[in-house]
Symmetry: C2
Amino acid sequence: MTVAVVMAGGRGERLWPLSRSYRPKQFVSWKGNSFFRATVDRITPVVGAENIYVVTQKKYKELALKQAPFIPPSNVIIEPQGKNTAPCIGLAAVIISTLKSPEEIMIVLPADHFIGDERTFQKLIRFACRLASDDFLVTLGITPLYPNTGYGYIHYGESHQKEGEMEAFKVLNFTEKPDLETARKYLKEGTYLWNSGIFVWKAKVILEEIEKYMPDLYRGLMKIKEKIGTPQEKEVASKVFKNLESISIDYGVMEKTDRALVIPADMKWSDVGSWVALEEILEKDEQGNVVLNKHLGIDTQNCIIWTRKPVVTLGVKNLVVVEADDVIFLMPKSHNQRVRSVIEALKRQEEFKKLL
Amino acid sequence: MTVAVVMAGGRGERLWPLSRSYRPKQFVSWKGNSFFRATVDRITPVVGAENIYVVTQKKYKELALKQAPFIPPSNVIIEPQGKNTAPCIGLAAVIISTLKSPEEIMIVLPADHFIGDERTFQKLIRFACRLASDDFLVTLGITPLYPNTGYGYIHYGESHQKEGEMEAFKVLNFTEKPDLETARKYLKEGTYLWNSGIFVWKAKVILEEIEKYMPDLYRGLMKIKEKIGTPQEKEVASKVFKNLESISIDYGVMEKTDRALVIPADMKWSDVGSWVALEEILEKDEQGNVVLNKHLGIDTQNCIIWTRKPVVTLGVKNLVVVEADDVIFLMPKSHNQRVRSVIEALKRQEEFKKLL
């Protein structure tokens, strides 16, 4: 009755050089486990391993199954190309609805986030499943801790609380990453939550909404549906995806539908979307440094140091220091949002392309 | 008639973590060669390999012979402990004077310096040998290029030039590292040279001057002389060295004697005494960065990047970045003179002692 759909097709470029073209962020080892594997482990108690689906690119299928070998290989859904979350979720919905049942509840999870409080996560997900069984489109909205300008926000309205139940609210709209002033306003108003990208709904309900609000996508999905299980499935899916618009399910459906609910979630969450985001999930030492490995700091404050080798710093402040297998990366924290410019620069120089 | 004495007992701590307790700076690989080996190679055409002596600590003897296997093992003189240059040179002088001849001319060379213009070096050394054969104590003084506050200076007086010969001057005195204002004054006056630590003299002449100006050292050396070639040599040398004052030959002898001459030398020299000193001997790229390995810099200026792995930097300025086998070291260039504080900090923490 309930399946998990782990979206593992992204690249996570802003965490370069930890994330790489051959090993995107979700597959990066994080304290012995990858983000992907942690995501799978976190949902397994809720749905069972045999009900976990993974949507990813063909080139990452092997890596995903290696990291979570208990997932049935037939549960890996190949996304012909990355087109943001709406096509990805639509594809999963049409396959699950066809091969299992349109009544299946899908728990849609990004594969590259961090959740510190797994028990709360599981409790909230089970509650979301109950709401989804009443044909709602449910999302978790993270209780904001500070005016983060790197996250999208969900503006919520009236309560949808039944007696004895946890809180849920009607979704008013999704917002893009705000500037600092706007983010402060959101926190002050108290009716905004961080957009977690976690969704729970019935396969048939999300397909109904896609039909209503994203008719082009729906038509494409129906073409794929005709060929599911046939030798033409892959070819048709490729053709369909080539012509799809890159759009998130948030904007494509959730903002438009009147069936969206949001559950406030306080579960030590981070999207780990950049180097500075590590400060949200790792403890700082007395000098405000976030350190993975051994570090000896003399007059060193507020650095983020993610290395294999021990690091010694003298008089260094606000610096991000990353060591991967084959490269060392350094930037001031103030340049956190510019990591993609590094990717662009690497692409332009033949001798550095292998660092992509 | 002429021997070279390569002083290879120092530690070069300010170049940590390139220099280490098990591999001091002189033995560090520098573009495929160590500073020590380069020093030996540079003097071999002048004296011949069989006339090269090395003074070092017992623990480095093997490393020295491995790096310069053509040096006769019996030419390695063991310094019982580091006591600066006067005891080291005195020991070499007494051994060479006893085993070879008091008339031998000794070319004394620090093992850890860089000299870019080897032909000029050899020409000047040969000239120094001619002056030394007239019983002068000769040193090379580097023509100062800018008011460096990390070097000692030699103040010189009247010319000692004979017709058709190169320039040499009477030494007035040696000065400690000056402050910037004083260094600027020195350059303006034009009668100051950088102290290179390179000396040329007869064994018997330096011993005469040690007898005159450092009688305690002389008495110790005579005790060692009695035992040279006997089973007691090592034990006596250890005892003698234990009680010797740590003092440089510059202050112990050269400043006091009236037989000191200095030859101005313009030969792309650096003592490579600190990370920032690398700027004196390595080319900068267009952004003012000194880089050993591959580096991709975006908005990156005036850094010194000495690593094994490629380095990518975004928005980084005036930073020293060093990667050794087992540690990464970072500091702003402004902290260049504080590297010894790192050594002290490492000593205090058990888990970091292996990085010494």
